[in-house]
């Protein structure tokens, strides 16, 4: 029988998980929420310091003379331009230029990289490494990871790290020590806030957790589950594989696939880079001809929604967490797209969604209507296309 694994932090997280709200993530149990409602966890991300167990992230160490060549070939970024200590967010595509997965590439040294992924990619990486001097090792089960997110995280980390993290820039990483334990700290995350990800050996996981919890006590450190993170990532305009797009390797039919352009990742597609990379031809073509779809932000008009609820004598009702369900989007009476994740944004006080819209409806400012359910009836609330991200605090990159 297939059993879900537990992460190296399980001893701590399971003791704290009051509602037994567990979620499956890449073969692991992780905490969905530590409390019955998400508010406290959500606000810890935005106002304090959220400690999130992200160990199930799939991680590969790619090492060898051709490590950079392999990632340059597989991903859409110009990996040869990356400096040691730099982290790059990227998607990777099949030969038709359709997204397979996305994650971060970290250049640990000249010939060693760490690649994170949402799903297993070993076969794909190996297929691309033919004739290369490179070793690909999956370290998902050996490397524990904590995402430490929120405006107070820098102060907490500085209390416990051997070298201060003040100089650590956005999307850079550093080797550091916490209580003498070697860790890698990257200025990355999935919340769009100030934040760090701490990478460590499994055996050190509990010690690091305890040290952070102790040091963060005065800064509102809060263990946070992935459901609150899900709300924050929508505000940050970050999408998720299998929720907001389907991997080209899993899609049943062509229309289920997405290109990086269609997901708004234009900035990650380095068409000016040297040499072949997977999907290059198709991506060049799409760039030339323009994309038919685009993922955009959608803000539902509160007053418009209020009216629909008022008709049945109710105040507007919004789910208390991010909804990973497809909601049709209309222009007039014609469907022109769909929202893949929608959520109430407690910070913005807005009902927002990541939406996939057809040309030309994806232009910012376009008025559309999104399906909402009003007392068991399907209605369509007015909404507007907006730029992503919905929320970007000044301290995110500072």
């Amino acid at each position: 029988m297939f059993n879900l694994k537990t992460t190296p932090f399980h001893e701590r997280t399971s003791a704290l998980c009051q509602p037994q709200n567990w979620r499956k993530w890449a073969g692991y149990f992780v905490v969905g929420s530590y409390e019955h409602v998400l508010d406290r966890e959500y606000w810890a991300i935005r106002n304090a310091a959220a400690l999130i167990d992200v160990s199930p992230l799939i991680k590969y160490i790619i090492k060898g003379k051709d490590a950079a060549n392999l990632l340059h070939r597989v991903t859409t970024r110009d990996i040869h331009k990356m400096k040691v200590g730099q982290v790059a967010y990227t998607g990777w595509c099949d030969e038709e230029g359709k997204m397979i997965d996305d994650g971060t590439v970290s250049r640990l040294d000249e010939t060693t990289f760490r690649l994170t992924a949402a799903e297993p990619n070993l076969r794909w990486l190996s297929m691309n490494a033919v004739g290369m001097e490179v070793e690909i090792t999956e370290v998902t089960d050996e490397v524990a990871a904590l995402s430490f997110q929120g405006p107070n995280t820098r102060k907490v980390l500085n209390k416990v790290t051997e070298s201060p993290v003040d100089e650590l820039k956005y999307f850079r990483l550093m080797k550091n020590k916490i209580k003498g334990i070697e860790v890698t700290i990257s200025r990355t995350g999935y919340t769009g806030d100030l934040g760090y990800e701490i990478w460590m050996d499994n055996k050190d996981a509990l010690k690091i957790w305890d040290t952070l919890m102790e040091a963060g006590a005065d800064y509102g450190i809060t263990p946070v589950g992935i459901l609150a993170m899900d709300m924050a990532r929508v505000e940050a305009g970050l999408f998720m594989l299998d929720v907001d797009y389907t991997s080209a390797t899993h899609a049943w039919i062509e229309p289920q696939k997405s290109s990086p352009f269609e997901l708004g990742l234009d900035w990650t597609v380095a068409l000016d880079k040297q040499g072949y990379f997977v999907g290059r031809r198709a991506l060049e073509k799409e760039k030339r001809e323009g994309s038919v779809w685009k993922m955009v932000g959608l803000e539902v008009d509160w007053v418009g929604m209020e009216k629909l609820f008022k008709q049945v004598g109710l105040p507007p009702q919004i789910p208390g967490m991010a909804v990973r369900g497809s909601l049709p989007i209309l222009s007039g009476n014609v469907q022109v797209g769909y929202a893949s994740t929608s959520t109430w944004s407690p910070l913005l006080k807005k009902y927002i969604a990541l939406a996939h819209l057809q040309k030309p409806y994806f232009e910012v400012g376009t008025d559309v209507r999104m399906e909402i359910t009003v007392e068991h009836h399907r209605q369509h609330a007015p909404a507007k296309v907006v730029k992503l991200p919905f929320y970007e605090p000044e301290w995110k990159k500072k």
Partner: protein, 500 residues
């Protein structure tokens, strides 16, 4: 610019030269590059000593007549087909004709004509398919693909429904099943079945040897190998299959094309997935608008291009092409008293014998009971040895070479006692030699096994059956492409149609 050509063709095998000749005839500036010091690829007649000149790899076959006509080649048509002889220990050899078959089975003799008629018909259907460039399934078909297929469809309609059905039915069958439907004599069955497994690493009980039988029948024009006759008035030279490639080379030159020997292509120069030229082993760079490779797909794509410039799925498919060479060649120079009759002689006593010979290959072993096909030319004897697998279990070809030579001679000497004492000199060509000297990856003479998952629109790999590659301006034109396998030259001609 002297160092720029319209088309560079890699390899002077028959297909490379056929393509080169057609293109040069069109007025294109053509350069053909050959690794070895002599031209011909596998279609070569070469000398291994004084009075020891043989067809070292391919020992028979003819170009398609339309190619000979188009290129005005001075290759006389063969009027007399040699005998196909199945050797018997008692000397009562079976010759595949009605009269001789009668001695083994009256009934089989009566069915021989019907079998030949079916095989000729099946071969002509296959021929029509080979002459048609296959669409790139499962990609969308282009209008031109559709037109070619329509033509093929019409041609097949004319073949008649019954023959068509029998042809389609025969392809996936085993050679054993096919011959058993016609013949009762084990000797007759095995003789025919041996042609099905010739150059294939398959046994007569393998599915799909119905297809390989038809393929080889088509390429040989029947069962026996046809030696290439000399053009009139040139009786002095030692005749051989190299006449074909020589005639083609002359045609290339007469149309203004260039041929360079000892010019090994190290790699194909690629910029942004577009082929720009070639780099030779000596470092020389030559540019061209179009590059054709008549080398096998694995060599061309994985060595000359390199995986780094190709899409991953394509690399995977290319790696997966089954080459599986299991042929060794033993050429003997004798004092002339070998006693072997003219024609194509085979050691193929029974279907089970052949199957067991193949069994060894499956396990990386050299057959102890082997299938031999023997041709002679005056004082020389050429032995085709199966199965001698390229990949040997727990051994190497350096160690096993002499074993193969001994096995071949011992086996043949059972039928021809004078053979051993007549031998003056010998030349062994192992599957490793086929790779290293003749550039055939894994010793695969057909540039990829002829099997049902590697033919029609699946040759060389699914989705790339029309000579094209993911590299613009780089085309394949060797035996590894649809139509290939054998000396017909059809892949070399088809590529020219794609270039138009």
């Amino acid at each position: 610019m002297t160092n720029h050509y319209n088309t560079i063709i890699i390899g002077t095998g028959h297909n490379g030269l056929v393509a080169a000749a057609y293109l040069a005839k069109q007025g294109k500036k053509v350069l053909v590059l050959e690794r070895r010091s002599i031209i011909g690829g596998s279609v070569v007649t070469e000398s291994f000593g004084e009075n020891f000149t043989v067809d070292s790899v391919q020992t028979g076959g003819t170009l398609r007549p339309d190619i000979i006509k188009d290129l005005k080649l001075s290759l006389p048509t063969v009027t007399q087909k040699p005998d196909f002889i199945s050797l018997q220990p008692d000397g009562n050899h079976l010759i595949l004709n009605e009269e001789s078959i009668k001695r083994f089975s009256e009934k089989d003799a009566s069915r021989w004509g019907e079998f030949v008629r079916f095989m000729d018909k099946a071969a002509s259907i296959l021929d029509a398919a080979y002459a048609t460039i296959m669409p790139r399934l499962p990609k969308n078909m282009s209008l031109r693909d559709g037109y070619g297929l329509l033509e093929l469809g019409l041609e097949l309609r004319l073949a008649g429904r019954k023959d068509m059905l029998n042809f389609i039915r025969a392809l996936p069958m085993s050679a054993q099943e096919l011959v058993e439907e016609y013949f009762e004599s084990e000797v007759v069955r095995a003789a025919i079945a041996s042609v099905a497994i010739h150059n294939s690493t398959l046994g007569p009980m393998s599915a799909g040897t119905g297809y390989t039988l038809i393929h080889n029948w088509l390429n040989r024009g029947g069962l026996a190998l046809t030696p290439t006759p000399l053009p009139e008035g040139e009786g002095q030279r030692v005749k051989g299959i190299g006449e074909i490639t020589n005639a083609l080379a002359n045609a290339v030159k007469s149309f203004g094309g260039e041929i360079r020997t000892e010019a090994e292509v190290k790699n194909i120069k690629i910029e942004n997935q577009i082929a720009k030229g070639v780099v030779l082993a000596n470092g020389e760079e030559i540019s061209a608008d179009v590059i054709l490779s008549s080398a096998d797909p694995k060599h061309t794509l994985l060595k000359l291009v390199g995986a780094q410039d190709l899409p991953p799925e394509f690399v995977w498919h290319t790696q997966s092409i089954k080459m599986r060479g299991a042929v060794a060649k033993i050429h003997l120079q004798t004092n002339g008293n070998h006693g072997i009759p003219e024609g194509t002689c085979v050691v193929a006593p029974s279907v089970k014998y052949l199957e067991k010979a193949y069994d060894s290959a499956k396990y990386g072993e050299i057959s102890e009971k082997l299938y031999l096909e023997v041709t002679t030319s005056e004082n020389t004897v050429s032995i085709h040895f199966q199965f001698a697998p390229y990949e040997l279990k727990n051994s190497s070809w350096q160690v096993e070479g002499s074993k193969v030579e001994k096995l071949a001679i011992d086996t043949l000497a059972v039928y021809f006692p004078n053979l051993k004492s007549s031998i003056v000199n010998r030349k062994l060509i192992t599957p490793k030699d086929l790779e290293e000297t003749y550039g055939l990856t894994e010793g695969g003479i057909n540039h990829g096994q002829l099997m049902l998952d590697q033919f029609l629109f699946m040759r060389p790999i699914p989705g790339w059956s029309n000579h094209k590659t993911p590299i613009d301006n780089l085309y394949l034109c060797g035996s590894g492409v649809h139509g290939g396998g054998g000396v017909s030259g059809v892949s070399g001609r088809n590529v020219v149609k794609v270039l138009k």
